[in-house]
């Protein structure tokens, strides 16, 4: 945890230093009050009055300055640490592989970047320093008491260990509850997020009651934990305060009795008053000391969650001195590629070759591994065995940036940002003119629709593109991918929501792209790969057929079977057309 604070150590040191000075000055005030009572009220030494008043005001002003420094510098250190940490986290998050992110729910990552950081911050800039100040209070008040009347220190020495003990017990008891509460809060938030995103499913299956009950249960758990932690807090920390108060009374009592029975000790009424005030001052740090103790643990939990993102290895990264140039694509080769996830072989021993600037098709049943296969190319995932080469160079030798700038995937489901259509299009490439944008939206057959909207390209499309139909989202994503002018473009079943007519037109338009491109088309429809120069068929992670479409049709294999399934269905039309 202190790793986080280290870069800002100068702010924290200044902050803590002013805090201690402030505390020390604060402890002088009761002494001044005692002085006043003794010399003015009891002994009527009027000549000391102005000295007392001036030292009171002087001490307060100085204390104010230090208090300001204390809060300001500690907060500044805290905020600055958080600012930097958040940036680092964000960048790190961007560099983690998709697998890393997909294995953690969105809500979980989000709460690490918000709630956990808050926990760390408030500990760094508040609880921690208050803990230090409490310790200083104990020490300094002890010294004052000793100087006043050495015998009194006995009360104090009996008291302090109990205070530590109580704080420690509180910390230990409340820790698991704090942890549990945080988890519950996480779940509640994930629950809301997920239900909002999928509310259509919840409603379609009339699961409102079910979801409500789950929500209620989680929140009830949260409430019970809140009450429970209060119970623990209420039965421990105030006890410490009561002990301090009782010790205060004991000091008053002992002191008073001493003055009455044993005036020779030289103890004064003013001293008793000031000791009493000091003991009152001790209440607040005592109350807060528990947070210092219990916080250590909860802040550690948060820090661990943050470090999980920050310090876990990025499994996919650039090698040293990577290539940053990629020439014209001549060929893409998969060489004995095997992907295993959780001991299950998703792809086994894939060897294939896509020629540069050709159209390639991949067919295969759902779950056969098509998406996995093409995700390997921009290194969204690395294979466990085998290698992939572009122009004879292992893709691991290219920088990720180069690789990915030259490869664009249009997915089955594409994420659109809650921004204008234009901003979404420009996401892939900012350096294009409006004319070019229009050129590509025309190719993707979406320009006409966009222009028909009242605000055309400036229309905000809602969270995840919610206000567009499925096909419109797909076409927008195709335009976005084309705009980045990739050398390799991959369509992962991205025309599934398009009607046959639109799909055909897009395919024909794509032939006319003014830049050279290698296309890989994943599809369920034989008709989608009709232009292909090369087609491969995947089944349960293995290539079972490959070749050019007409070759495949003439061999008695799966391709032919799919073909006949799709053809049989349309036989009637076919007769008509003929």
């Amino acid at each position: 945890m202190f790793r986080i604070a280290k870069p800002q150590i100068k702010f924290f040191s200044v902050g803590v230093l002013s805090m201690i000075l402030g505390v020390q000055l604060g402890l002088l005030i009761p002494v001044i009050v005692g002085w006043f009572i003794d010399s003015i009220v009891v002994n009527h030494r009027a000549n000391e009055l102005w000295a007392i008043v001036i030292s009171l005001l002087g001490v307060t002003v100085l204390k104010g300055l230090f208090d300001f420094g204390n809060r300001y510098f500690n907060e500044k250190g805290g905020e600055l640490s958080m600012y930097k940490l958040r940036n680092q986290l964000f960048q790190k998050l961007q560099s983690h592989s998709l697998t890393f992110i997909q294995s953690r729910s969105e809500g979980n990552i989000l709460s690490r970047m918000t709630a956990d950081l808050d926990v760390i911050k408030s500990y760094l800039s508040r609880d921690f320093r208050l803990g230090i100040s409490a310790i200083y209070y104990y020490f300094s008040i002890g010294v004052i008491i000793y100087l006043t009347l050495p015998l009194l220190i006995l009360f104090y020495l009996v008291l302090v260990p109990f205070l530590f003990l109580i704080s420690w017990v509180y910390g230990r008891k409340v820790r698991p509850i704090i942890k549990e509460r945080r988890k519950t809060l996480d779940r509640v938030s994930t629950h809301i997020q997920e239900k909002v995103a999928n509310v259509d499913i919840v409603q379609a299956f009339t699961m409102e009651k079910y979801e409500l009950d789950r929500f209620h249960d989680e929140n009830k758990l949260y409430r019970d934990l809140a009450v429970k932690s209060l119970l623990i807090r209420g039965s421990t920390l105030p006890l410490a305060t009561v002990l301090v108060s009782v010790a205060g009374v004991a000091i008053i009592w002992f002191g008073s009795v001493e003055i009455v029975t044993n005036p020779l000790t030289g103890l004064t009424i003013g001293q008793i008053v000031s000791l009493n005030l000091l003991m009152i001052q001790l209440r607040t740090p005592t109350r807060l000391f528990g947070n210092f103790i219990s916080g250590v643990n909860s802040v550690q939990v948060s820090a661990d969650r943050v470090f999980d993102i920050l310090y876990s290895d990025v499994d996919i990264r650039d090698k040293e001195n990577p290539l940053t140039q990629m020439g014209e694509i001549k060929e893409i080769t998969y060489n004995k590629v095997t992907v295993t996830i959780k001991e299950r072989k998703i792809l086994s021993d894939i060897t294939l070759k896509f020629k540069g600037e050709t159209v390639n098709g991949i067919l295969g049943s759902s779950g056969s591994g098509k998406t996995t296969l093409i995700n390997l190319l921009p290194r969204f995932q690395d294979p466990q065995e085998g290698s992939i080469l572009i122009n004879g160079v292992n893709i691991r030798d290219y920088s990720l940036k180069t690789l990915r700038q030259n490869i664009s995937i249009v997915n089955q489901e594409n994420f659109l940002f809650n921004k204008s259509i234009l901003e979404n299009l420009l996401f892939s490439n900012q350096n294009v003119s409006m004319d070019e944008v229009v050129k590509y939206t025309k190719i993707a057959q979406i320009h006409k629709f966009i222009s028909s909207l009242p605000e055309a390209y400036d229309t905000i499309i809602g969270e995840r593109g919610i206000t567009l139909s499925g096909g419109q989202q797909q076409r927008l994503s195709i335009a976005r991918a084309l705009l980045s002018r990739p050398k390799i473009i991959i369509f992962d079943d991205s025309t599934s929501s398009l009607d046959a007519g639109t799909e055909l037109i897009i395919q024909e338009e794509l032939q006319k792209l003014e830049y050279k491109v290698t296309m890989i088309i994943i599809s369920q429809k034989i008709s989608s790969v009709r232009y292909a120069d090369y087609v491969c068929l995947l089944d349960q992670g293995e290539i079972i057929e490959q070749g050019n479409p007409s070759e495949l049709l003439n061999s008695e294999g799966l391709y032919r079977k799919i073909y006949s399934l799709q053809r049989l269905d349309s036989m009637v039309v076919e007769e008509e057309v003929q």
Binding site: I37, I40, V41, I52, V53, L57, T60, G64, D67, F68, K76, Y83, Q94, I101, Q102, S103, S105, L110, I192, Q193, E194, K195, V196, A197, D200, A204, F205, T206, M207, L212, H216, R223, A226, L230, L231, S245, V249, W253, S256, V260, I269, G270, V273, N276, S366, F380, L403, N411, F427, T467, G471, A500, L504, Q524, S550, L565, R567, D569, S570, E574
Partner: protein
Amino acid sequence: MRHGFRVEVSNEPRRISDRKLIKFGFNVLLPRKRLIIFAWVLITISTFVNLLPELFLKQILDQGVSGKNLSIINRDAILMIIVFIISWILSFTAQLTIVNIGESSTLEIKDKMFAKLLNHTQSYFDKHKSGEINSRITNDVNSVSNFLGLNLIDIVNVFLQLIGILLIMLSVDLTLTLISASMIPLFVLLGIFLVGPLRRISMKRRKDISKVTSSVAENISGIKETKNFATEKKVAKSFEQVNKENYQSALKATSMFSLLSPLMTLFGSIGTALIFIFVGYNMDIYTAGVLALFYSYLNKFFGSVIFLTTFYSSYQAAFASLERIYEFMEEEPEITDPNNGKNLIITKGEILFDSVSFSYDKKVTIYQNFSTKFEGKNITAIVGETGAGKSTLVKLISRFYSINTGKILIDGQDISLFDRTELRSHIGFITQTPKLFNLSVLENLKYGSPAIEEDQVIQIAKLVGLHNLISKLPNGYNTQITSKSNLFSMGQRQLVSFCRVILKNPPIILMDEATSSLDSISEFKIHEALSVVFKDKTAIIIAHRLSTIRNADHILVIDGGRVIEEGSHRSLIDQKGKYYSLYKKQVHRLMKVSN
């Protein structure tokens, strides 16, 4: 903006009067009035009990020490200890009660809000961001509950304390009391000067931090796109901007708040100094006990005044949250269920659109006077270009949106006369994008029919062809998945949707491009399976593939919000219209391939 997202500019004046909000808050607390009164009584007692130790101290000093009376010292010391213990018990009980009140009302508000949320139509979710909704249900409710729980009680406490102190001080000495009270205007002035800026900066902070949160949220969701286009730098840069803004306003807020407390302490000290000076010139009147008492009370007194001056800002913050909750609760869903418990009686499952008009945003009309009939116990296919309005049509049958005019009837019964849950319990809807929940595989498969036995689920999983995959998973059907998980490919997710609907077994089934990501062979298998399931059911199928459409009893071709052709596959081919030209292309391509 077309969709009119409400940008949360918190420092704009509030739109809803305080009175309404107070009434709203009051209604939440009303059922708990007994507990509240109990807490208040406890607090009142404990406030006064808390003022006693100073009085005892005064007696010890003045009568005990100065009067050399040991028994008074002993007695009062013991009394003081008793007071401390009683006060601890009282305040602990009060706090427990208060937290209970706060947390229970929170729980209740949250439940109500969530129920409200699920009751909204889709158009609500088109307009509101999920992050914003989330923050209302969690953050806003929590801040209101803190306010209800602690501050509202504290304010009473502080008021009582102030009055109590004033009374005691008055009874002890009038002049010193007046001197102390003369400091109050100074505090009030400081409060007035600082409250405005403090509030503004706190609200700006809230806004900035929520910007950071939504920026993170959106970028996590879109991380695949960021990687795809290698735009990490650009995205990180824009995040840094947002983050920096947050940092700067945090710093500003911090420096203002750091200033506040030293200033307040200083004012308090000036008050003390004035008293010292006055006493210094009238030394003979005052005893040590009186001085000790005054000094202690003065601290409490100024503490209360400080609380009151800053109370306004916490009150403002809580009310800003309360307002957002109020608005949330007041926003009526577009559809109000009749709540009459009437049952929809389905005999044939015939669905009739009777001159229905609909638009999403009152600007672009999707359907105008649209009438058509879906025969009961028949399979009807809807075809048409993307954006033609196919999905919209089936969403209207399930009442995800409310129609502007006209009627939709199922077996002659107007669907708007029934609760939506009643209506939907008869409908199985497979949406265009199949979605998984953070649940186990089993729970995902039986989502919609929670009571169903595992055996049955497995049987259906086998039928749709998922069993093989699932049984290979490490924990089989009990494997936990996340909504983002890749465990199921797109086509397999569609099979999960099928599974859900088959288990639900409703008389009406709506399928919106439900097989679009399935390969031909799986699709073929699913159709075989479905021919059993579809028996005696009304089904509406949206699809692009001929293979899917061909099996339908009836086909509707939709374009520009109208049915432009309808009939059987055969008859539509014969018409040589839009349908024919749509599918001629598909077949053409197949033939080219076969050449």
